[in-house]
């Protein structure tokens, strides 16, 4: 029933679209706008003082960056001072004393140049170094989880798609982690990752025959994030497996027959029939996994509390800690707003790139 030229009856459209749109507006868009509004204030969770408008102060606090170049400490005769840990530099507080404009900044990253370049240290100072570090952690995590989770999911889907006995059972087994709550999974994994007595290190020690093998998974700043990535991939792969499965089953079997008749072996069939047929599904899985990865929070909260040494602090974790635990709602909202904009931009970019190969 078309009323206007090329358009459906507005009432009919309203019937279908309104419920969800209304819910989105009230329960997603409105809070988002309120959060956006809070970024311009110093709103706190509990405070007797009225909320004040502070303009862009929160953004400045979040994003301000500066660079400082620092000379190493030198002896009286001009030689560079060294000790067991290497070249010695002034502490951050001393640097600030000679660079008063860095008063509210803290050290974010450092780069020590080699002797050939004068042993100078280049410091990137930020007003909120944890924000930048958490950005990097979040992207790093997404980079780790993406191939792991999607690759495993695809492999599982292919396996489960074979006409094998018990595949429904296996499907359930692979899906089991998905229905486990993050809190429960984090606890059990924390046990398994225990340095001294956890299963994983026991396994490694057995395989490598080395009684000292097995890193401090959750306690070493180099391994904590990968450990959480592995655990997240474990948790999420089952769901993506189902999505891939649906995609696989929508590939017409005749295509496979044709390929077999043309003499293609399994690998060639995979590359030339399966992958192209799954193109849309792959894009979808990649995009959705990336987006979910950016929201990493619960595992970090339960397993590592953002540590060790801030190596697992993600942007959402930083925001929740600022907003809820440190009660600075205005600032917490600022973090999430800026992050939202970044991710939005990235996802448009990703879709544009993926869309280029389409059609």
């Amino acid at each position: 029933m078309k009323m206007k030229l090329g358009q459906d009856h507005p009432l009919a459209v309203a019937l279908f679209a309104t419920p969800a749109v209304l819910l989105f507006i009230v329960f997603v868009a409105l809070p988002l706008l309120l959060a956006a509004g809070a970024t311009f204030t110093d709103h706190r969770l509990m405070s007797p003082e009225p909320t004040r408008y502070v303009g862009l102060a929160n953004f400045q606090r979040l994003l301000a960056l500066d660079v400082a170049v620092v000379e190493p400490l030198r002896d009286a005769d001009g030689r560079v001072r060294t000790d067991d840990d290497g070249v010695r530099y002034p502490t951050w507080r001393q640097v600030r004393q000679s660079h008063p404009e860095l008063a509210t900044y803290r050290e974010a990253f450092r780069l020590d140049l080699p002797a050939a370049l004068g042993n100078t240290r280049v410091l990137l100072a930020a007003s909120d170094p944890l924000f930048y570090r958490s950005l990097i952690n979040t992207f790093l995590f997404a980079l780790l989880v993406l191939p792991l989770q999607c690759g495993v999911a695809l492999g599982l889907a292919i396996l489960v798609n074979q006409k094998l006995r018990g595949r429904v059972f296996f499907r359930t087994v692979y899906f089991a982690p998905v229905v486990t709550s993050m809190v429960v999974a984090s606890i059990v994994w924390a046990f398994m990752l225990n340095t001294d007595r956890g299963m994983l290190n026991e396994l490694l020690r057995g395989l490598l025959g080395n009684p000292d093998a097995g890193p401090d998974w959750l306690g070493d700043s180099r391994y904590a994030l990968p450990a959480i990535a592995i655990m997240s991939a474990w948790q999420g792969a089952g769901f993506q497996m189902l999505v891939f499965l649906a995609g696989l089953q929508s590939i017409s079997p005749e295509l496979y027959e044709a390929a077999k008749l043309m003499g293609a072996n399994s690998w060639q069939r995979f590359v030339h029939v399966t992958l192209p047929g799954l193109r849309n599904t792959i894009v979808f899985v990649l995009v959705s996994t990336t987006l979910l990865a950016f929201g990493l929070f619960t595992q970090v909260d339960v397993m590592t509390s953002g540590g060790p040494l801030d190596s697992t602090t993600t942007v959402v974790y930083h925001a929740v800690r600022s907003g809820f635990k440190e009660q600075d709602v205005g600032y917490g909202s600022t973090i999430t707003l800026v992050f939202f904009v970044i991710v939005l931009a990235l996802s448009w970019l990703q879709r544009a790139l993926a869309g280029k190969g389409d059609k």
């Binding site: 969770l45 509990m46 405070s47 007797p48 951050w92 507080r93 803290r106 401090d216 060790p308 440190e326």
Partner: protein
Amino acid sequence: MKRERPQRADNRVRPQQAIRHVRLALVALAGAIAAASSAPALAAPVEMKVWRHDTGDLEMAAGRAAVERFNRAQSRWRVVVEAIPQGSYTESITAASMVGQLPCVIALDQPTVPNFAWAGHIRPLDTLLPASALEGLLEGGRGTYKGHIYSVGQLDVVLALFARRSQLAALGVRVATMAQPYTAAEFHDILALAKRSGKYRFPLDVNGRFKGEWYSYAFSPWLQSAGTDLIDRAGYVRVEGVLNSDQAVAVGRYYGRLFKEKLVERHPADDRAFEQGRSLFHYTGSWKAREYSEQFGADLVAMPPPDFGNGPKIGAASWQWGITRSCRQPEGAAAFLAHLVSPAEIGAASRMTGLVPVTTAGAMLTEHYRPGGDWRVYFEFAQRYAVARPATPAYPAMSSSFEKAMADIRSGKDAVEALDEAVEAIDNNIARNNDYGFTVRKAGDGT
């Protein structure tokens, strides 16, 4: 599908309905007359809601018993308790407080009391509770802010260094006493000796699995023992030069060394090391007293924590009770709180849970904590060593920053850097909140 019989109740019931109406009216009339002529005490008790944290079985049972006794002893109010999981308790009541949905009485973890008081969610108790109820309370039984009492508690927990006499004797180590506690240096050497003996992989257990408030509760007393603190308590504004003073850095380095030298396990799988004989010392709260006493009997010894120069210090104050500003029955709430801190109730609570009573009168009524009792030592720790955590609304932020500093030190960061960062974070927090009202604004100050 069966066709249902049409309802014909209306027509037939009408006369019966009329009779029922008359009967009801008569009863109502009788009731009204009775109510008007009876003493007010016969009116139904007003329901008063209390929120508390959900914790161990014994504490919950003790709480229920106390409530029952209160409800039975008077008929004006009836207390109804709602238990909220402890791990998320503060978040839960913060969320409710944000939107004005707090009940009459709430349990509060004492260090958060100044925050709630500053935000205006709870009332001062000085005028609501009788002075006699308030004066006997030890440091660990009250929560104050700006000189007023905002919360009262029944029980406290003290920090102690648990060990077994037999194991200490086997290593030739002396037992520390209140007269002669271990000095920090001595303690370190004992730990090193224990590790060298090969019997203990990690001689000291400091509850590495705990998160949150534990770090501030357990280790800020080391700062106080060293002569410094988390914040300057004269004005509750200055942190610089206090939390990162030389003494504080020394404590931080001491803590870091414990992990570097593998005297303490960085990520223990559980907190059973002491009870299973895998560690020599357990630095923890006296909530373990009953369990360890039962397991080790007279072999157990509870010693003061190490002395960093100014005498051993321990944290004070546990869960307490406050009255919210939105409470409509403040006298009822006050009566309930007064009931809870009466000697009889404190004694009963202590007897049931084994935790430390916060008044001398209460202690007299218990077998363990009265003079001569086998756990009297914990009561004396509370009397002598307890220092309340700083009574400032900044405390939650301070605790969080301190916890992070300690975590970073554990992971290898230098104490100077870690404490400097903590100082800055806390300073910023205090500045952003206008010093939490501790500095008086001079007239004529613009913003």
